[in-house]
Symmetry: C2
Subunit: 732 residues, 2 copies
């Protein structure tokens, strides 16, 4: 066994040490006065209560799924009951990743508020360090978990001197797939549950508080305001942490599955290297993400926070790209062959570069479609001038339009990375994109921390300039949230494609031919899944928000003195509504994602399941972009009114009619951009992983007999000699 | 040549004679008093002005496209420059079908108003006869045109004694495909242009008139009211006529292409029969649709209009099904073989039945999702209680959910009809569904006629009871509009699948393997097309509606006395805004639909184009259902307030806050259900037809060399012996 393999968990350990240091630094910052710590305490308690309720349900699910996996793993030769253990480790680490992020975020929020009393630079330092703890922690956990589990499984399954691309290594990686399944299923529930929680609270708080009662956002008089701030933590932080943990693992795993099939021939055949490469790149990405965090700092109040983040982001990406060059050339042999496609180690490096370019372009395009002052958001602002309905039409139109360029970039990326290094190239491109996940997540998680900090500042009635600083950070957080989503969906698409390719290999089919009617039917059904999934998510938000609205209205009506700050609202009732609704409503969409590939696979076989996977992926990517970008654009259209906007020569501010229309759009966009939209990338990966896990069970041992288009009757008939000019399907 | 072929144009001639008789009957009905005829005159003039403007642009397009087609047809052996003529005939007949419908609708509207002064029975008779003229006329034109063109082309190309499934007949049918291309391209522009027209006017009229000025719909003081009523005619009537003309032709044509490949072996080999069968079934469907129209009548004021329509519809469907049995058993040989799939004539009949069942289920499901009093609409009503935003969230959620059951039905229908009779079975199932197009269209066209009749009654300030009768008809029209759309999208999906199969045959490939990376990239790009297409359509409506709103506001402001009926609004300015906007904005989406398959096909070859077609079809069907059903549900949620709805124990009527929220949903739904949604089925068919037309130009003469997954470099390398356990792609 290549000794370089031990380097990988070491990277993870380094990450966790850095995380611990940063976490200690954040914790020892000043948490402000009694009012602030009281409010922060409510938020932290509410978040913890949600996680506990969620974990209880997910615990049952995980144990049940593990038993099922262990049992089925014992049925098939290529598989092993150990997959159950692997699954549980993945599930637990994923839940822990979410917990970690939430714990630090509920500390960093109030400390950021306190820091904002001093300077913008200090506030950025606290909030970004909070985000970094999460980013570095998630990546460290993933690398440590995957790397050490792989070592253990390798020791268990692979005898000394076994062929690298033989059955034993394959089996080890298939058991490792259980880790990814565990991570991704917890991610799905966390994302959907957290997404429903946060948006039910947000929509409910806004509709009654801002629109009906006319009090500001995050006003302490609003009974739903604590639930709203809890939501930022459980949805945007814990949900996102589990989500990116899952993406990161799935991407690495898919590349390992394909890497295992590589014929690494040539003079310097280096054994496991195609399998180790994705983990190695992830490890390097983690180290250079840590380096990158040092560059995120500002000195003066007028310095650009966005620039500071960009410098940190780009330096980690560029350093990782350079390091990848050395990793690729040192690890890989000169010539590699994967499924009959031959390529060089440099081709692999170029595929990584393709991945980085696709990721960067996706972020840029997403930013264009969601940023203030650009044509799409301006068009929504203009359409707010003629009312609620035209604002909605404008946002839906922008969201749909925003799929065009990303899809063209993605299609070009697929073709280019494939041209360089076949399907392994597509997978490694995704791995390259995801390498700096630690930095991406640090930037992403900084947003909700700043948002919360602003909320605490407002609720504690701190001076205007403090709120100004947190608003500055929050505005940057909105942009990074949108670009992060563009990035996540692109990596999910490439990862799904790699998983799809891995599925084809394991399931023993040689093509997925949509010219065959049942496969096309599978494509239709797969395409529909993201629609029903999204429908369930946004309907859940709508229902829970209605309950929240009615509860807030009731409290305003029945508790005298709230408006005069004389009575305290019953925050915990609103927290309970969000918690219960999200736990209840996350079940159905989660079940659809997990069960539908199993039903289709076992009923119609692997090729129809392949068609379904393609349908889920294409439709999921489109729906994800459409919903996330529409939501982001609506949000920033609404925000533009704070500084005043010009429509047909008149200037409008907050509380004007056009602003009210823009609030409607923002509210519709909330579940789009924070519940259903970002769930799409988990949905497509999870469906592919489930398919990969069941592949050995539904494998076609003899692909030649699997011609779905030929009639069962055909064998009884003498072949008709070809008077037709058109080619026929093979009749074997 | 089989003499039965002459029966087909004869069916068309019968249809046109019946149409002329019914048209004469409608024309001689009383058109009411001077005020009514004046208003009806404005509407007719506006509609005609739009058609003229549209035809001018489409004329240039048609001539240009015909030249291109003729030139390219002369380049390839299998093709012919005559395709240009075929294209022009299709285009002209399609435009004529729209004209015909609009001409009769603008006569029937005011006559229905006048009839409503007498009784509901009489009003139904006039309006349904108006619709029948259009339905029977469109079907008659299509059958006469296709049937006689086929006879001419057959005489021209096929020498006596030539093999039926030989090159000559194939060429004749490929030239006939030009007819379908002509019909479908005009349909696309008519649907999109008409859809933009009608919704810009409708949204503009409602936003200022109903919401701001507080005057009723169709009030004569509203400057946009004439444009609104013109819109019903150019969008819902002329647009829909061209649309269904195109669908009808495309379905028949796709079945003919596949039928031509059939090895009709056995004792009673009957020559052309698999090619003639779809035209024959269409002819029988026309005759029994005419019979069905006799059953649509009511006697008393309290009789159900919906029931009368249902009886007419079902009797025509059942009679056609029975007649199909005889047509199939008499025309077809016992045993048929298509592309290696063998089936009997009874299997073909069962496939037709599958098509009829799929169509019926689609209508039922659509009705459930859009009808008043059912769970989906009730949920939107409930969500209107908490404001504009939750109403929109509710409607979007219902629309997304509404794709689930229809897709499952469609997938089952594809698998079942394919199991009976292979790809020919899928095509003939679509042909079976479309057989009673004349009746479907009569029912569909009756809706906008009734809508217009109500508008004229309101504008002429006729007594309440007259408006009550037209409202009754209008409400039924809303339901039939929704179910008609469900039916149209299902038939479009099956037709596209048949065209897709035809494309595979003509382009010389033997599979469309989405496991190949470029094909999957094609699938992504194809899936994106319906999103950008919808975006352009609804953005166009949004922009045009803003112009309309500003113009109406200007007139209310600058023309004194409008509100007191003292001054007449400048109707023609609003008509001009809608006309210009729709002509200008229909170009871009139309161009995308026509040009994108050409670019992909010529750049990446037929297999990638096949992937793209699948993407367009799946995504287009989903987006079509989502948008049409969301729009229909919002519309009926709003309408429910007229009779009062109960939300949380309180009853709300028109002008209440929840009602205002429901108006927002209805307005958002307008472009969804009448512009972009119904355009989806033309988009998917048109893309497939364009692919079919260019197939001979991009055909792969040697499919074995087309393995997209193998590297160009591979040939220089000695094959590596298989240490891998996973199956490889063929390396040939």
């Amino acid at each position: 066994m290549n000794s370089i393999i031990y380097l990988i968990p070491a990277f993870g350990v380094i990450g966790l040490i850095v995380m611990a240091i940063k976490s200690a630094w954040v914790t020892k910052q000043d948490a402000g006065d009694a009012k602030m710590t009281e409010l922060a305490g409510y938020i932290a308690d509410g978040a913890m209560a949600f996680l506990k309720a969620e974990w209880k349900v997910l615990g049952y699910f995980a144990v049940f799924a593990a038993i099922l996996l262990g049992w089925s793993g014992s049925l098939v030769e290529d598989s092993s009951p150990l997959i159950a253990i692997s699954f549980l480790i993945g599930a637990i680490l994923s839940a822990f990743a979410g917990y970690l992020g939430m714990k630090i975020a509920t500390k960093a929020n109030v400390r950021t508020t306190q820091a904002a009393r001093t300077s913008l630079a200090q506030a950025l330092k606290v909030s970004f360090n909070g985000g970094s703890v999460m980013g570095i922690g998630v990546a460290g956990l993933a690398i440590l978990g995957l790397g050490s589990l792989f070592i253990v499984l390798y020791q268990l399954f692979v005898p000394e001197g076994a062929a690298i691309n033989g059955l034993e290594v394959k089996k080890a990686i298939e058991v490792l797939a259980g880790f990814s399944l565990g991570a991704e299923s917890i991610a799905l529930f966390a994302r959907v549950g957290g997404g429903i929680y946060t948006k039910a609270a947000d929509v409910g708080a806004d509709l009654v508080g801002k629109v009906e009662a006319g009090i500001p956002e995050d006003d302490v008089r609003n009974p739903a305001t604590i639930a709203d701030n809890v939501g930022d933590n459980v949805g945007d932080v814990a949900g996102m942490g589990a989500d990116l943990f899952g993406s990161y693992v799935a991407t690495i795993l898919a590349t390992m599955v394909l890497g295992q099939e590589i014929d690494a021939s040539g003079d310097n055949y280096q054994g496991l290297s195609p399998i180790l490469l994705p983990m190695m790149i992830a490890g390097l990405g983690l180290i250079f993400s840590i380096v990158g965090t040092w560059f995120v700092r500002i000195k003066k109040e007028t310095d650009s926070v966005q620039n500071a983040l960009n410098i940190g982001n780009w330096s980690s990406i560029i350093l990782t790209a350079i390091a990848s060059y050395f990793a690729v050339t040192m690890l890989l042999p000169e010539k590699l062959v994967h499924r009959g496609f031959e390529f060089s180690s440099m081709d692999v490096f170029f595929a990584i570069i393709v991945g980085l370019i696709v990721g960067a372009l996706m972020s840029l395009i997403t930013e264009y479609y969601t940023a203030m002052g650009k044509r799409p958001v301006l068009s929504i602002i203009k359409q707010s001038g003629t009312g609620h309905a035209t604002n909605i039409i404008g946002g839906l139109s922008v969201g749909m339009e925003s799929t065009t360029l990303p899809i063209l970039v993605l299609a070009a990326g697929i073709i280019a990375s494939h041209a360089f290094a076949g399907l392994y190239g597509v997978a490694i491109a995704a791995a390259g994109m995801m390498a700096t996940t630690a930095m991406q997540l640090a930037i992403d998680a900084f947003g909700p921390i700043a948002d919360n900090a602003g909320g605490i500042a407002e609720m504690s009635q701190l001076p205007e300039e403090v709120r100004g600083r947190t608003d500055n950070l929050d505005a940057v957080g909105n942009t990074t949230a949108a670009t992060g989503k563009g990035f996540a969906i692109a990596s999910a698409a490439l990862t799904s494609l790699a998983l799809f390719a891995a599925f084809v290999g394991v399931s023993g089919i040689s093509s997925i031919d949509i010219y065959k009617a049942p496969v096309l039917a599978g494509l239709f059904v797969g395409g529909m899944i993201p629609f029903i999934f999204s429908s369930l998510c946004i309907a859940a938000v709508g229902r829970a928000a209605m309950d929240m609205v009615n509860e807030v209205r009731r409290q305003f009506r029945e508790i005298p003195g709230i408006m005069e700050y004389k009575a305290k609202p019953e925050y915990e009732k609103c927290v309970a509504i969000s918690t219960n609704a999200s736990i209840r409503e996350m079940i159905a969409p989660g079940a659809i994602a997990l069960i539908s590939p199993i039903i289709v696979g076992f009923t119609f076989g692997p090729e129809v399941l392949g068609g379904m996977l393609a349908g889920v992926t294409v439709s999921g990517v489109l729906m994800g972009m459409f919903q996330s970008n529409a939501g982001g654009a609506w949000d920033n259209a609404k925000k533009s009114f704070e500084k005043g906007v010009e429509i047909n020569g008149q200037t409008y501010f907050k509380k004007s009619e056009p602003h009210k229309a823009s609030v409607t759009g923002d509210t519709v966009g909330d579940p789009f951009k924070d519940t259903s939209g970002p769930s799409m990338n988990i949905l497509i990966k999870l469906t592919s992983i489930v398919a990969l896990i069941i592949a050995p069970h539904i494998a076609q041992k003899n692909p030649a007999s699997a011609d779905l288009n030929s009639s069962p009757k055909i064998e009884a008939v003498t072949p008709v000699s070809g008077a037709s000019e058109t080619p026929r399907l093979p009749e074997k």
